[in-house]
């Protein structure tokens, strides 16, 4: 069974015309596919219009399985961040509804950890206190202990007592990831988390994220406009189109895990990248004036 096929039951009929990915190149073991059978996040015919004529997001339906890593990819203005804000509960849809584990999503909760693009650490708290914030709010035992373990796992134990403003961009984002993971959320929502980092730091962060994901296996929705990043990280790449924001096409990513950056040189990777780039170029042109 291919990954692409495994996701078919999750797909809403509305987007069934968005063709599933090309024939998968590698087989995935059946147990892993069965794991994904439960739908964790579901968008049901969601429209967000911000009171404007052309909605930022129009009639989007999408199902995301438990433990799945999905990338939302598209040019700026395609509504991918808006969609993520709906999933996080920050933005209520104008029409339609979002569901988490079958329950309607009515606002932000500690079940969905969010990693923001930048400047989201609380500058008035040390790195450690930032990570301990969630556990404290939930009344978990030993918040500082939880925070220390997580900082250790992202390699930042030595800057636990530093203020965020004294950390580099990459360090700040790692603290941000640790903070989002501290409440042990089943879902991790990431809004272009590496977009502001330099290329070298970015590729190290991608590998680090994969190794964290491998350990904890949360459901991840990862917003990016970087095609390689999306393919390298995700099980499924959802390509969006702009004006109005919709799902253009979905691609199952066939590469086996754990993945190393070398897969980016494989012909199958390059072929997939080209195919996605073609769609995105058309979409980017629409809103380019």
């Amino acid at each position: 069974m291919t990954r692409g096929a495994a996701h078919n039951p999750l797909r809403d009929p509305v987007v069934a015309d968005s063709r599933p990915g090309r024939a998968a190149l590698h087989l995935v073991d059946a147990a892993e596919s069965a794991d994904r059978a439960a739908v964790r996040l579901r968008l049901d015919d969601v429209t967000v219009d911000f009171g404007r004529k052309i909605p930022a997001v129009e009639n989007v339906s999408l199902g995301i399985g438990a433990g799945e890593f999905v990338a939302l990819l598209g040019p700026s203005g395609c509504g991918k961040s808006t969609l993520l804000n709906v999933l996080a509960g920050f933005q209520a849809p104008s029409k339609g509804r979002a569901y988490l584990d079958g329950e309607p999503l009515l606002g932000p909760s500690a079940k969905c950890g969010v990693v923001f693009q930048k400047h989201s650490l609380f500058p008035w708290m040390t790195a450690l206190e930032n990570v301990a914030f969630g556990p404290r709010r939930l009344g978990l035992p030993d918040p500082r202990g939880i925070a220390r373990d997580l900082l250790d796992s992202v390699g930042l134990a030595d800057v636990a007592n530093a203020w965020p403003s004294s950390l580099s961009g990459g360090m700040q984002q790692r603290v941000g990831i640790a903070r989002a993971l501290a409440t042990r959320p089943p879902v991790l929502l990431m809004d272009e988390p590496f977009g502001a980092l330099d290329a070298q730091t970015r590729s190290l962060m991608q590998e680090e994220l994969l190794s964290i994901w491998d350990k904890l296996r949360p459901t991840v929705v990862f917003v990016t406009h970087d095609i390689e990043e999306a393919i390298f990280l995700a099980d499924r790449v959802v390509v969006m189109q702009a004006l109005p924001g919709k799902i253009a096409r979905e691609f199952a990513v066939p590469f086996v895990r754990p993945r190393a950056p070398e897969i980016m040189d494989e012909p199958a990777f390059i072929e997939l990248r080209r195919e996605i780039a073609d769609i995105i170029r058309i979409e980017a042109r629409k809103s380019f004036r």
Binding site: S120, R137, S165
Partner: protein
């Protein structure tokens, strides 16, 4: 503060001290020369006679009691103003309706200088301490209010979203996100407000009180004891600078240390 400070920090402090005291020495020298040239103790007493007067006033205890009276008035006004201005500013920063209701009134009252309130203050409260508290609190109110308001409105949506997605309820949001994010601006307002209260206390005492440094300056002027006037003036300068400096240190070390990393 401690990160990477050390030797370099000490050297910088040392050279700042050296430059500062040199500047003061030059000023005192020019003053002494001018006083000697003028030869008129009433128009411009020499620095030496001011120092001598310092000795007398400290000796008979009158300086201490005047300083005490003024400090009490400054802090009374400062605390009254802070207690009203900070909560009010934060409430207005978060409530659009209240903001629309109150801001025009504040815009109209703000340009009225504290001294213009003195007649009303005396009519309402008579002579003595209450009108002085009133004047110093009026003076401290606006810088505190305006800065705290700016702090309240500078709240970043990302911080609110992050806190909510980490399980923060409204009460926790207020104390762990809104308040600390406004704090740097609030402290700036407090520092400016304290300075304004010091300036206003003299105004209030010149007219509405029978003690304090302002009152001392006023009666010394009437008896042409200019060295005493200068003692009053320099004490106000010194105390004001020390208090604002102490508040600055508290700010960097304890209140908003995250704003002072390098």
């Amino acid at each position: 503060m401690s990160v990477g400070g050390g030797k370099k920090g000490y050297r910088a402090t040392g050279s700042a001290l050296l430059l500062g005291s040199t500047g003061l020495a030059i000023f005192a020298g020019v003053w002494a020369l001018a006083a000697a040239k003028l030869g008129n103790e009433v128009l411009l007493p020499s620095p030496l006679s001011v120092v001598k007067t310092y000795g007398e006033l400290i000796g008979d205890g009158s300086l201490a009691s005047d300083v005490k009276a003024s400090i009490v008035r400054v802090f009374a006004g400062f605390f009254i103003a802070s207690a009203i201005a900070v909560p009010l500013a934060l409430i207005l920063a978060y409530s659009r309706i209240l903001r629309g209701l109150v801001m025009p009134l504040i815009a109209l009252i703000r340009p009225i200088p504290p001294i213009a309130w003195i007649p009303l203050a005396i009519l309402w409260m008579g002579l003595g301490d209450p009108p002085s508290y009133f004047i110093t609190s009026i003076a401290a109110f606006f810088p505190i209010f305006l800065n705290a308001f700016a702090g309240g409105t500078s709240l970043q949506q990302e911080h609110v979203n992050a806190a909510r997605s980490l399980g923060a309820r409204p009460a926790a949001l207020l104390t762990t996100v809104m308040l600390p994010s406004a704090l740097p601006m609030i402290v700036t307002g407090l520092r400016i407000g304290l300075g304004q209260a010091w300036m206003a206390v003299v105004t209030a005492e010149l007219i509405a009180a029978q003690s304090g440094l302002g009152y001392m300056i006023q009666i010394s002027r009437l008896s042409l004891e200019t060295p005493r006037v200068l003692v009053g003036m320099t004490v106000i300068g010194l105390l004001g600078a020390v208090m604002i400096g102490v508040l600055g240190v508290l700010e960097r070390r304890f209140i908003v240390p995250w704003n002072f990393t390098r």
